[in-house]
């Protein structure tokens, strides 16, 4: 039997295990292996090598598995709660900012009228409005977002508030 037939058979045997071979190649290989003792032995060796990987079954430690499960469950629950908290915080902040601007728009006209009554220059009362009304309201609205950072409290690994 030509030497290249054995080489082709070995190559096909490995390819059949790794990436698969075409039906024609399979038929040729089966026919060759059936009549070639050397390639039949090699086919057996390849099959044994693959089966041998199953011999290395790792014994599972149920306690260790449970420990990992509990840690991951607990982290997932914490992250979920932190994300829900962060979401409500953002919504609350958005509402507070909206109310700040809505309230400012509502108070703008009465303040302008009062300033007119007291003969205050418009620039003066407008600066006072921004400094003593708008800015404090905005700061108060944003404060909860940065509360933990300002207080130096811990955050989780995502940088989200726990």
């Amino acid at each position: 039997m030509p030497l290249e037939n054995h080489e082709k058979a070995r190559s096909l045997l490995q390819r059949s295990l790794v990436e698969g071979i075409s039906p024609e190649d399979r038929r040729w290989l089966d026919a060759h292996v059936a009549q070639c003792a050397e390639c039949s032995r090699y086919a057996d060796l390849s099959a044994r090598a693959v089966r041998a990987l199953d011999w290395f079954a790792i014994e599972l430690d149920p306690a260790a598995a449970l420990r990992v499960e509990n840690v991951v469950r607990s982290r997932a629950a914490r992250m979920r709660s932190a994300e829900a908290q962060a979401k409500s915080l953002w919504i609350g902040t958005a509402v507070a900012i909206f109310l700040t601007f809505a309230g400012s728009a509502v108070t703008w006209r009465p303040l302008a009228w009062l300033a007119g009554q007291w003969n205050l220059p418009s620039r003066v009362w407008q600066i006072a409005f921004v400094a003593f009304w708008l800015l404090p309201s905005l700061l108060l609205a944003l404060l909860p977002l940065f509360r933990r950072r300002l207080l130096g409290e811990d955050s989780d690994r995502d940088g989200q508030i726990v």
Partner: protein
């Protein structure tokens, strides 16, 4: 073949989608069940990488915490296993690099240029621990001598039964590279068994 692949996709898609949803929702019950379900496979994969049982146990936990952190990156369009194994792989590589750096700092011999080789197998290797026959011991020696990238390719192909494309996704390597790693690993195992058979 095409019919089989199509049928498989139809079965696999809803599961991968539900996993992606559960991860995004941080559904601790579902995630807990997944941890339990994949524990053995993940541990075995990491043992193949690290050759150390205790370190593999630690890395399993790290892998799941990393999965939670990066849950948004898994969209459920592909199977979950390759994504999970690729996270575990990155952690294992980082771990091995740290181990080798520590080894080098202590003046011990440095490994090859890939920086990922492991010490020669010894009787404490998990492969030897699992070997209960002469054949198994020969294979254990061959596995221990193989670089982790070859062991990984063999495990993912023949035990996890991932496709070459999925293994390429896990390993971040071209399919041709993955294929040649499997061929080389297989040849080494065959040589270990064949040598033993010849000797017998």
């Amino acid at each position: 073949m095409v019919a089989v692949v199509t049928a498989f996709s139809q079965v696999a898609e809803p599961e991968s989608q539900s996993i992606a949803r559960a991860l995004r929702r941080r559904d601790s019950e579902f995630i807990g069940r997944m941890v339990s379900r994949y524990h053995y496979r993940l541990l075995r994969y990491l043992v193949y990488w690290t050759s150390r049982r205790e370190q593999a146990e630690d890395l399993v936990q790290e892998t799941w915490l990393r999965v939670l952190e990066h849950a948004g990156q898994y969209n459920g369009r592909l199977r979950f296993e390759p994504w999970l194994f690729s996270i575990a792989r990155n952690l294992a590589i980082d771990h091995l690099r740290k181990r080798e750096t520590a080894t080098a700092r202590h003046g011990m011999r440095q490994e090859d240029e890939a920086g990922l080789n492991l010490p020669a197998p010894d009787c404490e290797s998990p492969f030897f621990a699992a070997a209960r026959s002469e054949d198994a011991k020969r294979i254990a020696a061959a596995l221990g001598a193989l670089e982790p990238i070859y062991r990984e390719a063999l495990l993912l192909r023949f035990q996890e039964e991932l496709s070459l494309a999925e293994i390429a996704q896990v390993a971040g390597a071209p399919i041709s590279t993955v294929s040649s790693r499997i061929h080389r690993g297989l040849s080494m195992l065959e040589a270990a068994l064949g040598g033993g058979a010849d000797a017998a």
